[in-house]
């Protein structure tokens, strides 16, 4: 190390040392976010603070709302006012946002919600990390909806995932959930980040009066075209409530879901591989646990176990196809999670027995270490799996 320090770049380094939460804020600004509404909550608060600092000087809107219910409502309202909007919270606030998240889904409103996960349930462990909201991010609101949930496992990853979240939220006209955790949010790493762009200039497609507003139609906010009707009731392409049954809404939701699966960028970003090609043991992980798993892979390889990592960078939609490919090659799958077993369910459902799926869980606020994962992988390889 003493030697390494000699290679100092002495100020030529353009990297910045920032927290995951700051990277989220910078990513949002880079993606043109000009509206933030939120409410303080550990461990997401620094996103709120950073947006409070930055947005006014860019002419954007920062609103500290009375609660998380209204924060979610405000960003949906803002999106329909033409803004590129986001909020950030943690488990308790995310639970409160679920109803309005469903509204954003049925009204096809682009917006970004960050959930920095802490130990749950309830108030739980406010300052400690968890992955306990993975299924909630998909199923937390009542009814069915298209879901797009993105993860990150580094500070740079927070920045990139935020930019991606906004991009996909706009492309697919939907709320996108960025799922972090207390460690990622508060971790500092040096990152290379481009300077922020100038404040965004709003521009939307032109719509004529009779054009559909929902389904495959482009998102055009109020005031940027002919009048539009938006409702949380099941509705048709014209926005008016369906009076008998929800045939049109069901079709639009199914259509949205299938478009997610076919999006080339989602397909490209869906999962990350590490030494997976010849792996006999595939570790399927995401977020902070994927970092530990990566180190576990190295440790396992050193010990002669052909291990590899599939990092679920986009949790939902779930990368079923990829899982089936992995299962076809690696007959053992290990799913380590900081919860009592959540994403292991879609993994099992996807592989349908093609590989033996073992789960490794911890939900006490402590991270799974590389050693934990490696030891578990060895134990299940020896036939003593969970």
């Amino acid at each position: 190390m003493a030697t390494a320090t000699k290679t100092s770049t002495n100020g030529k380094d353009t990297r910045r040392l920032i927290m995951g939460n700051e990277a989220v804020a910078l990513g949002a600004i880079a993606a043109g976010c000009d509206f933030y509404a939120g409410y303080p909550i550990t461990p997401a608060t620094e996103i709120l603070e950073e947006m409070a600092r930055v947005l006014p000087r860019r002419g954007g809107v920062f609103l500290q709302m009375e609660d998380e219910l209204s924060a979610m409502a405000a960003i949906i309202g803002a999106a329909w006012g033409g803004a590129t909007a986001m909020t950030a919270t943690s488990g308790p606030g995310f639970s409160l946002m679920q109803e309005n998240l469903g509204y954003a889904a049925i009204t096809q409103t682009p917006c970004v919600i960050v959930d920095s996960q802490r130990g749950g349930p309830s108030t739980g462990l406010p300052t400690l990390p968890s992955q306990g909201d993975a299924m909630q991010a998909r199923f937390g609101t009542h009814g069915d909806r298209p879901a797009l949930v993105i993860t990150a496992s580094s500070v740079k990853g927070c920045y990139d995932a935020t930019v991606l979240s906004f991009k996909l939220a706009k492309r697919h006209r939907m709320p996108v959930v960025l799922l972090l955790d207390a460690v990622i949010s508060h971790m500092r790493e040096p990152v290379e980040i481009p300077p922020p762009p100038p404040p965004p200039v709003r521009s939307f497609p032109k719509l004529a009066e009779g054009d559909p507003r929902f389904g495959d139609a482009p998102f055009v906010p109020f005031g940027y075209g002919p009048i539009t009707v938006v409702t949380g009731l099941s509705h048709g392409g014209d926005g008016l409530a369906e009076t008998r049954g929800g045939v049109q809404t069901e079709a639009m939701i199914i259509n949205s879901i299938s478009k997610l699966d076919q999006d080339p960028e989602i397909r490209a970003e869906w999962t990350g591989d590490y030494r997976l090609d010849d792996a006999e043991v595939a570790i399927v992980a995401y977020g902070i646990t994927a970092r530990a798993a990566r180190e576990a892979v190295d440790q396992l390889r050193e010990r002669g176990v052909a291990a590899g990592l599939l990092d679920l960078r986009i949790l939902w939609p779930f990368a079923e196809e990829r899982l089936r490919e992995v299962a076809a090659k690696s007959k053992t799958i290990v799913v380590p999670e900081l919860n009592l077993g959540q994403m292991v369910m879609p993994v099992r459902a996807a592989v349908e027995g093609a590989a033996k799926v073992h789960q490794l869980n911890r939900a006490d606020g402590t991270l799974l270490t590389p050693e934990d994962i490696a030891a578990f992988a060895i134990s299940v390889q020896g036939g003593q799996g969970a």
Binding site: M1, T7, S8, T9, G11, T127, E189, P370
Partner: protein, 186 residues
Amino acid sequence: MRLVDRDPIRIRLTGRGGQGIMLGGAILAEAAMRDGLLVSETQEYGPEARLGATKADLIISTREIAYPEVEKADLILCLSRAAYLRYAQSLAEGGLLIADSSMAEEMGEAESTVYLPFRATALELGNELTTNIVGLGALVAMSEVVTRFSLAAAVTGRVKRELAELNNKALEVGFNLGASVQVRLA
């Protein structure tokens, strides 16, 4: 392998809430970055932010850092009694614990421990809040995990402008404190 040659090297800064441990972690991490190294820094938050033991963990490396938490630390800086009680046992084999002298009497001597008068020195400088900077200076002087140059730049960049001079002075004193000590960096 000598302690200073460990790569990655794991460092834990500890103290009680209000002693500037978080800031110290950020400064040391930034110094590492300025040295062209890779670094990850994580912190312990808690409702007892202003009391009790708290820590900042750093991993500094020339290679990509996967798992960012520190289980066993190669270097521990310890500024308070509660932190000592809680974190001293997390010292890695062959690691070095650098603690405030106020604890020396109670904790007793150990091969792996060095006591230095950080708080007393800070009080001499007229501001107890510089204890963390004195400590960082000593730690870097002893371990050379980052260059003094980068550390000084990081301090200047991260403290309030009106306190920059005071902190630079504290850093200098810390460097001297550290340099004055003979330790085995085995």
